[in-house]
């Protein structure tokens, strides 16, 4: 069964074509990584999936229902699809616990006790329980990003979108965040991940898609794509990454 079906997606920013007839499926429990240079359209593609960015042509289905289908309310869509951003985007005026329980309580009507109990359980899983009453600004970037992942998990989504979640972190903080994502994969979470961490993509992905100029130029299992890319653009991109010491 496909969690996400993206068909012939086309998107312009003004007159600039950023997504050019992109089609992609993500199956249940599958982890797909989107890689490519800046401006290749991978973050835009990710944000189209949960309707944060509007697209011009094409169709996106979540569990077989179009994200624009009237039967799929915004509340329902965002309950099923969680997203984590590069800049964490935690609410600075709220404690960690309030950040995590906001959507369950105010959007989905979960009782406060229940929402907090589940939030603490998730925080415990990621060794963050001591920060429940802290404010985001009191935490390191890596801790904030792990809290952001917990916040996205709080509505028990079936699908998680990760948008360059380690790009703003110092190198020594990246490991903790990646470990959390790996543990989510091991629990069977379906994930679509935009990343610049090629080593991580190789470790965690079932499939890697290389985007260039708004198209998916090549998609393959990581072992194949990283060691034996078919398309010359993929090869050039990986060569530059290797030269930069990132693979």
């Amino acid at each position: 069964m496909n969690r996400i079906e993206i068909e012939h997606l086309t998107k312009y920013y003004g007159s600039k074509l950023v997504l050019d007839d992109v089609s992609l499926n993500v199956a249940e429990h599958e982890v797909v990584c989107l890689i490519g240079a800046s401006g290749s359209g991978k973050s835009t593609l990710l944000r189209c999936v949960n309707d944060l960015v509007e697209f011009d042509e094409g169709l996106i289905r979540i569990d077989g229902t179009s994200i624009h289908d009237p039967s799929l309310s915004a509340v329902e869509l965002y309950k099923r699809v969680g997203i984590v951003f590069q800049a964490y985007n935690l609410f600075p005026t709220m404690t960690v616990l309030d950040n995590i329980t906001l959507a369950p309580r105010k959007v989905h009507g979960t009782a406060k006790d229940e929402a907090e109990a589940y939030a603490r359980e998730l925080l415990g899983l990621f060794s963050l329980e001591e920060f429940a009453k802290s404010y985001p600004e009191q935490l390191s970037g890596g801790q904030q990003q792990r809290v952001a992942i917990v916040r996205a998990m709080a509505t028990k989504p079936e699908l998680l979108l990760l948008d360059e979640v380690t790009a703003a972190l110092d190198p020594e903080l990246i490991g903790g965040v990646l470990a959390v994502i790996k543990s989510l994969r091991d629990q069977g979470m379906t994930m679509l991940i935009v990343t610049h961490e090629m080593g991580f993509a190789r470790d965690v992905a079932d499939r890697v898609c290389f985007l260039d100029g708004g198209k998916i130029v090549e998609e393959a299992p990581p072992a194949k794509l990283f060691s034996n890319p078919e398309h010359p653009r993929t090869g050039q991109f990986l060569q530059r990454i290797i030269e930069a010491g990132r693979l």
Binding site: A74, Y78, F85, A87, F91, L102, V107
Partner: protein, 282 residues
């Protein structure tokens, strides 16, 4: 902040550091005193000084009229206090109206834009005169006829337009990522405002709002043109009778006693706000 900065002369002894701390204060105090002494000398040797002194700085006159001026000042501060609360709320409502998107909210947006344009575009004095003399004269049943009420309402209306723009700048300064995060959690427009945008916006604009509060604190004296017996009016009543202006100085002193601490409070809050922002970007 300064305590965190490494001191270039850290190795020097305690006495040197104490001197470093005290010396600037001594020099600046001495400078200010020096300027005051020079100014005083210039003023005192002026030919008309003795006449001015008795007309503007007659201590006995000040003491005699002080209770009345003080009572009037109480009215000023009462109007100020009530106005602050009403402005804080009404301006926020205006700013929210202006920020709403979607066709259903177009009338509220339009109202807010027109309101702010009109009331920011008119001099406060003119508004006070129009409201204070015009509205009671309309004699509409059920509406108050007190010129104090209408004068205060004019000040509130005018200052709310400014404060609404301050709130709006605060809302605009909240990063787009916060809206994206709120949307991605399924929050609707109202919830996004309430939980994500407004708490940050209000926190960001508190120093600017305090600045407006200081300005309003003295602008409430405009109500005296309506004949309301506030501090300025009481002082003028005496002045008109005796041609002695010392009471105006007494009223001025009262305003300073109120506005200077407010200004210091604003400085303090602004400084703390800046430190908080610096910490966040570290």
């Amino acid at each position: 902040m300064t305590s965190k900065r490494p001191r270039p002369r850290k190795r020097a002894g305690r006495s040197l550091r104490t001197r470093d701390k005290v010396l600037p204060h001594v020099i600046s105090t001495a400078t200010v005193l020096g300027v005051i002494i020079i100014l005083r000398a210039i003023i005192i040797q002026a030919e008309q000084w003795p006449r001015i002194k008795s007309q503007f700085f007659d201590l006995q006159v000040m003491i005699d009229v002080f209770p009345k001026v003080l009572h009037g000042f109480g009215i000023n501060m009462a109007v100020w206090g009530v106005a602050l609360v009403v402005i804080a709320i009404w301006a926020l409502v205006l700013a929210i109206f202006r920020s709403l998107h979607g066709p259903w909210f177009a009338p509220l947006r339009f109202f807010s834009v027109v309101y702010i344009d009109l009331l920011r575009g008119l001099p406060s004095l003119l508004l006070v005169l129009l409201f204070g003399f015009g509205m009671p004269a309309l004699n509409i049943p059920g509406l108050p006829k007190s010129s104090l009420f209408w004068g205060a309402l004019a000040m509130i209306s005018s200052y709310s337009a400014y404060a609404a723009e301050v709130y709006r700048s605060g809302m605009d300064s909240v990063h787009d990522g916060q809206r994206a995060a709120a949307k991605a959690l399924g929050l609707n427009q109202g919830q996004t405002l309430r939980y994500a945008i407004l708490p940050q916006a209000v926190r960001n604009v508190i120093p600017s709002l305090l600045n407006l509060a200081v300005a309003l604190q003295k602008d409430v004296a405009l109500l005296s043109v309506l004949g309301i017996r506030d501090a300025v009016r009481e002082a003028q009543i005496y002045t008109a009778r005796t041609f002695n202006y010392s009471t105006l100085i007494a009223a001025a002193a009262l305003f300073l006693v109120a506005t200077v601490p407010m200004a210091r409070l604003t400085d303090y809050v602004t400084k703390r706000d800046r430190e908080r922002r610096l910490q966040r970007t570290e």
